[in-house]
């Protein structure tokens, strides 16, 4: 007879580990079961080749909640976030648009391309930060159910109303507009230069099966600027040692409080008896019992794969089936012997250290999306190339470079399937794109890893390889995430919970979903709440 636990968390992604850490900290006997032989889910650092650390899924960090970082003592457990310099965008005509941390430098840089847009920048950032600050109030809170008259829901709605009213009437109207707009329309309200618009629009399509002209992408843009690095809202950083350091640090906190992780333990079914969860059955045939089962898997996988249809309310299976979780991103991680040349910039130029993109216009980005619609990877893809090892030397030995390329768009299905041949062709498209701006890039490649949505689904377990565990469209945000009526982390069965990015506040390495889930579980167990509130700006 195996040991019985108080709670089982399925999936050792960073959110699952966070839920487990808080439950353990509260004194519960917790087990995390993970199908892979490593922890972290999509927040991993993997030594795929000797001496090279690949942050092979998520690659940069900003959304991680500071209060959780501090509360779980993640620094003590080895986590260090290194801010990195912004992104330089190379254009076809041999020019570039850089992003500087200094406001005056940034003004001059944008002014080089458009004087009017340089003047509009202040207005743009002011407005964006206003929206970010309102949203930030809700990240570590459980969304209210608008159909409920329970005191807690009414209180939460009152809290929301108060925060919104604090913006003032005009900004509430602006915010209402903002939430449903396209990034292109939103940016057109500030900027006229197509390159500048494209540059700012990149955040609006990352991980999203929409184009810059699609309504709803303005919010996705906000989703990428509402995080912070040590309180600097909008800034992004790298986790030293790769993104796996985040998972490792949370795992450290879990161990500190006596929680356990079982690797290579893939769940076959969540066992339900008499309307209550009883534990999980693993694919290797063993059964582990616990009255509480938390799924850190995406909602579609949770309700269509590891729960029995007959255990679910009638409508839930359909909701899960209709849940929008679309693979739209790929990754190509590259190990380089020496630093390739980018002739646009003189050797040794500081901008060579930042991230790199290759864009000219919104139209180019939109055409990349059109390819995705037709089940093709983008022939002229958007690439965000982050030179991780420049800022975090643990990735590669001195003189070597590790770069992480994030690619939009790459579909889950392509004609002929994701054969090895197609996969290599996708990789070639990316290398060719970079080579357009760096002729000797190819010569430096030591080895590389090509990851299509198919690979991400297969390895990490994310349905369709969607990095956010579900599209960030407003029909799947706040009290609608993952489905209306199920936004408070509780599943349809007593004792069953959800903690993944498929819940509010959504994707990104935030640990907020996991922390919120832990708070709800502790509440149901009538234990004191030990999950911290967010730090207010």
């Amino acid at each position: 007879m195996t040991k019985k636990y108080d709670a089982i968390v399925i999936g050792a992604g960073h959110n699952g580990l966070t839920t487990a850490a808080y439950l353990a900290k509260s004194g519960l006997d917790v087990l995390v079961v993970e199908k892979n032989d490593y922890i972290g889910g999509a927040a991993v650092s993997r030594e795929l080749h000797d001496g090279w650390i690949y942050s092979n899924c998520s690659y940069v960090c900003s959304l991680l909640r500071q209060s959780i970082h501090r509360d779980l003592n993640l620094t003590k457990h080895g986590l260090m976030i290194v801010p990195y310099m912004g992104t330089t965008n190379f254009t076809r005509n041999g020019d570039y648009l850089a992003e500087y941390p200094d406001e005056a430098m940034q003004y001059r840089e944008v002014r080089r391309h458009s004087k009017r847009d340089a003047d509009a920048m202040h207005r743009y950032y002011t407005d964006l930060m206003k929206y970010a600050k309102v949203i930030r109030h809700f990240l570590l809170r459980t969304p209210a159910d608008p159909t409920s008259f329970k005191p807690r829901d009414l209180q939460e709605m009152a809290f929301m109303a108060k925060k919104f009213m604090g913006m003032g009437e005009r900004d509430i109207y602006e915010f209402m507009r903002f939430m449903t707009m396209s990034a292109a329309d939103f940016l057109a309200e500030y900027f006229e230069n197509d390159l500048i618009k494209a540059f700012y629009a990149t955040s609006s399509i990352i991980g999203t099966a929409l184009g810059v002209y699609s309504p709803g992408t303005a919010y996705v843009l906000l989703h990428h600027v509402m995080g912070d690095v040590d309180g600097a809202v909008g800034a992004w950083g790298l986790a030293r040692g790769g993104m796996g350091s985040i998972s490792k640090a949370i795992h450290g906190a879990l161990q500190e409080h006596g929680g356990e992780v079982m690797l290579e333990a893939e769940v076959d079914t969540i066992i339900v008896k008499g309307g209550k969860t009883k534990g999980v059955a693993l694919t290797n045939g063993s059964v582990i019992e616990a009255p509480i089962v938390v799924s850190n898997l995406d909602p579609k996988r949770t309700f269509t794969k590891i729960m029995n249809k007959e255990d679910l309310p009638e409508d839930l299976y359909k909701k899960a089936k209709d849940f929008k979780i679309r693979g739209s991103s790929g990754k190509v991680n590259i190990a380089l012997k020496g630093m390739p040349d980018f002739p646009t910039l003189p050797k040794g130029h500081m901008l060579r250290n930042g991230s790199m993109q290759f864009l000219d216009s919104l139209e180019r980005m939109e055409r990349a999306y059109d390819d995705w619609k037709h089940n093709r990877w983008s022939q002229d893809p958007f690439i965000e190339m982050t030179q991780s090892s420049v800022w975090d030397p643990t990735h590669a030995a001195p003189g070597n470079y590790f770069v992480s390329c994030f690619i939009q768009y790459c579909p889950r299905e392509v004609e002929g399937g994701w054969t090895e041949e197609n996969k290599q062709a996708f990789g070639k498209t990316i290398i060719d794109q970079i080579s357009n701006y760096s002729p000797n890039f190819k010569d430096h490649i030591e080895h590389m890893e090509i990851r299509t949505p198919y690979d991400i689904e297969k390895e990490v377990g994310l349905t369709e390889g969607n990095i956010f565990q579900g599209e960030l469209t407003i029909d799947q945000l706040m009290f609608n995430r993952p489905f209306p009526g199920y936004s408070q982390y509780r599943g349809p069965v007593k004792g069953m919970y959800m903690s993944g990015s498929g819940t509010h506040p959504g994707g990104g390495v935030s640990a907020a979903c996991g922390a919120n889930a832990a708070r709800e579980i502790l509440m149901d167990l009538k234990r004191p709440n030990i999950v911290p509130e967010d730090e207010n700006d």
């Binding site: 329309d185 699609s214 309504p215 709803g216 029909d475 009290f479 209306p484």
Partner: protein, 518 residues
């Protein structure tokens, strides 16, 4: 000193006329000035070829019973030529068209018929929950008046009264793109495309565009003048309705002046109040209320002038999205048109075999190109009303979405390209029709702009989308028909609830003007 009116309406579109009629019937002295020779604006009926008449707008789904009654339109000669057109999904191979009418659909499998019944019932439930709000002034957050507060409460209550399950579905579905709504409900690709049609019409939206589609569909369901969820057309074409509106106004004493373009709105410098208009011929007409049926950009930027408005407000008006996305083609033909798989061309015929077909056409328009496979909506009004064409002849009225306002190659060359794409597609679905053509008139968004003085040639005077809806239409501080300039009001489609031949904007604006004059 010229004659002083209580109210002067700029533009004799259907909203302007509805506003004028309502004010006149309330005892106000009203004048309407119209730049063109014909009344109606985008709802005007023009004789595009000798003996052939057609209008840009061709159906009347949004017309409400309340407006018809309030303005006694039946007494003034308005009637329906048909109270309900069937929607027909044409099939290129000549097999029987798919037919959608009210709550039923034919030409698809039984499970799709059942799915349609469920879908239709749910949509009607949603539409009824919000239908009342199209007829009301939008509330404002800072407006503590009872009218505003009660409208807000009523809105919340109506949603809640849908019941927990439907309210949740409403909050989710309102943001879904047409494609997701259809994929969730149906299997039949052709049915999906036909039902998705009204989700994006008139707007720069594709089946895959989130957030705005459902609101357009619920809006389209709003009318009840011919019964809920019906698709009527007027006797005598749109002219039948426009003449009735004008008669309702003039019979109550309103004066309508055509060929009278407004040069500018006259503003009293000291009080910054709109006091009259100056016409193109130099004549100045004074009125206590100046009500513009023109689109917001024309109203504020051209006619009023930015000199009198705050820079931020100006910016907000300028940013309203007004690039039209819809073209119109009138075709005069000899004999009766014969479409594949349709015994009588008396329905609303849609050419869109699947949603990706519409999406592809939209993709061309995104880049300022003409789609070679256009999606089209075709009505033959003369099948219901012979008075619109000489005997033995017919008028085909085609609406073509996904036509960009700005084309890369320029309209000088692309208009012919668009025309041939439309005619080729028409010929494919109605073989031999090209030989029947006597005359035709193609109106691109740019033509609509210049002919009807509508910025961008946009059907709705600006995108009808969630970010430009209700209290944000056209922008806050002008969404209650009043504007920051005293004495200056909006009554056109750029104001709530938007375009479509509904008359609600005009009627709601009249209520506001009447309340202000008390």
């Amino acid at each position: 000193m010229s004659k002083q009116y209580d109210a002067l309406v700029i533009g004799a579109g259907h909203n302007g006329l509805a506003c004028a009629a309502k004010l006149a019937r309330a005892g106000k002295k009203v004048m309407v000035v119209e730049a063109n020779a014909e009344l109606g604006g985008l709802a005007a009926t023009t004789e595009f070829a000798e003996g052939f008449k057609a209008s840009v707008a061709h159906t009347l789904p949004q017309l409400t019973d309340k407006l018809v009654k309030d303005l006694e339109l039946h007494k003034h000669g308005f009637s329906f030529a048909s109270e309900h057109l069937e929607t027909l999904g044409l099939k290129e191979d000549g097999s029987d068209a798919l037919r959608v009418t009210g709550d039923t659909v034919t030409g698809v499998s039984q499970d799709q018929v059942d799915a349609y019944k469920r879908y239709s019932a749910q949509m009607q439930k949603f539409a009824k929950a919000i239908a009342a709000f199209w007829q009301k002034k939008p509330p404002m957050i800072g407006d503590k008046s009872w009218a505003s507060v009660s409208t807000g409460i009523q809105f919340g209550l109506n949603l809640r009264l849908l019941g927990k399950t439907d309210m949740r579905e409403f909050t989710r579905m309102i943001a879904l793109p047409a494609q997701d709504v259809m994929d969730e409900q149906f299997e039949d690709e052709h049915l999906k495309a036909v039902l998705a049609w009204d989700y994006t019409m008139g707007n720069k939206l594709a089946p895959r565009s989130p957030n705005n589609a459902m609101i357009n569909w619920l809006y389209r369901l709003a009318g009840d003048a011919s019964g809920f969820n019906k698709l009527p057309i007027a006797k005598g074409g749109m002219k039948g309705l426009i003449d009735a509106l004008a008669a309702s106004a003039t019979s109550a004493g309103a004066v309508i002046k055509t060929n009278a373009a407004v040069k500018k709105v006259v503003v009293d410098e000291e009080t910054a109040t709109a006091v009259g208009v100056e016409l193109a011929d130099g004549e100045v007409v004074h009125a206590k209320a100046i009500i513009s049926n023109a689109d917001p950009k024309t109203s504020f930027i051209k006619l009023l002038g930015t000199r009198y408005i705050d820079i931020q407000f100006t910016h907000r008006i300028n940013r309203t999205r007004t690039d039209g996305q819809t073209a119109k083609m009138h075709i005069a033909i000899k004999g009766e048109p014969k479409f594949n798989g349709v015994s009588r061309a008396d329905g609303r015929m849609i050419i869109a075999p699947k949603m990706s077909y519409i999406e592809n056409a939209f993709d061309s328009s995104k880049y300022g190109e003409i789609a070679q496979d256009p999606a089209m909506e075709i009505v033959v009004p003369t099948m219901h009303d012979a008075s619109l064409a000489p005997e033995g002849h017919h008028v085909i009225s085609i609406t073509i979405p996904n036509v960009p306002y700005k084309v890369k190659a320029g309209w000088e060359t692309e208009k012919a390209n668009l025309q041939s794409a439309i005619l080729n597609k028409l010929e494919a679905y109605a073989p031999g029709i090209k030989d029947q053509i006597v005359a035709s008139d193609l109106l691109t968004p740019v033509d609509l702009e210049s002919r009807y003085n509508v910025t961008g040639g946009h059907w709705h005077h600006g995108e009808l989308a969630l970010d430009a809806w209700w209290m944000n239409r056209p922008t806050y501080e002008a969404s209650q028909y009043k504007t920051p300039i005293d004495g200056f009001y909006l009554c056109g489609a750029g104001a709530h609830p938007g375009g479509g031949v509904m008359g609600a904007a005009g009627s709601n604006a009249a209520d506001v003007v009447l309340a202000a004059s008390k």
